[in-house]
Symmetry: C2
Subunit: 205 residues, 2 copies
């Protein structure tokens, strides 16, 4: 029997992607689900909806609520939380490096390191020096990783993940898609998505 | 010691308000929390954000997801579900009648009857004949109730609930506000809001 699978779509600028990325590996392991990490870019999807900024900045009441809600969530999960300034952080570089890492064996650890730096410590993850420092902390040589991240192959991979997300119906992050195409949106749907993945037929992949 | 309290802000056109309204009484009773039912109008709050329609209509991917998500939620809760057509339903009449009922003793039962008719059976809750039928089902004489609902007193009460919601930071429905001013948004935050209400100091009310 094939092991249940779940696609995990996330964006490095996305606030609720932080607790999801920090928790999904342990929850998926407990549920017996294989997670495919799919870093993508929300920017193009937001632009298609007419937004040139995060909806949390465009709609201040929604933004105020989100920061408070995220603070509560992190408190409950004992995750350090610091609001990045500016928000949203530029996420393209981290997305490219993550795709390079996922093609090797350090991708998931890199994703967690980026989120911990950004939302746990308030570090500017758009800066190459910060990303290099995170790589070094994982024992990954920064120069070859950054060179791979700048390659056409990786640029294409990030674009492909973004358009794959859009085709799966994704409109925000984090999102989860099961093998039978069921979409779940938000950190607060992660457990439900994992449970669905366990029950889902092998589906269309 | 004062009994814990929670303000429950909801809108009759709002999809996720349906499961919240059907469930909150039993959950609040189990938690020992007194709920103040606050039907309000999302329209003015949406207009202030530049929306002249439900965001679920303005953003089709978000709308498609919401209908699927609501279907899953109702399935899990064994609540009947039928998508109202058109969506959103005109909700002003129901809000006014609900305020009349909450000033008497049939308000909460009326609110549940409206949601069950709208999202369980797909009935047009903007029509006076439908509202009269729901009142009759509750043993409430429709004519005096509808007359009260049309009074200046009740129109003012609906406007007051709407501006009170806005001042509490509400930007969507359902929302929950504790005595110490903590805001929770969404059916999926209802249990957390009740738990917060139990722990909250008597606060500002």
């Amino acid at each position: 029997m094939r092991r249940p699978a779940l696609d995990f779509y996330f964006e490095f600028a996305s606030t609720y992607s932080y607790p999801a990325a920090m928790r999904i590996a342990a929850l998926a392991q407990a549920a017996g689900v294989t997670v495919r990490w799919r870093p993508f870019l929300l920017g193009p999807l937001f632009k298609a909806q007419g937004w040139d900024n995060s909806p949390f900045n465009l709609y201040p009441a929604k933004g105020r609520y989100m920061w408070r809600d995220l603070d509560r969530i992190c408190g409950r999960l004992a995750l350090p939380f610091r609001r990045p300034d500016p928000f949203p952080q530029p996420s393209l570089l981290a997305a490219r490096v993550a795709h390079a890492g996922l093609a090797a064996d350090w991708g998931e650890a890199f994703c967690r390191a980026v989120y911990a730096a950004e939302f746990g410590e308030g570090r500017p993850i758009g800066e190459e020096a910060v990303v290099a420092d995170l790589l070094q902390g994982l024992g990954v040589a920064p120069e070859p990783a950054l060179a791979h991240a700048r390659s056409e192959e990786i640029k294409t991979a990030v674009r492909a993940a973004t358009s794959e997300a859009e085709q799966a119906g994704v409109f925000g992050a984090p999102s989860f898609v099961t093998a039978d195409g069921e979409l779940f949106w938000g950190h607060d749907r992660m457990a439900e998505a994992l449970a669905w993945a366990v029950r889902a037929p092998a589906g269309r992949t």
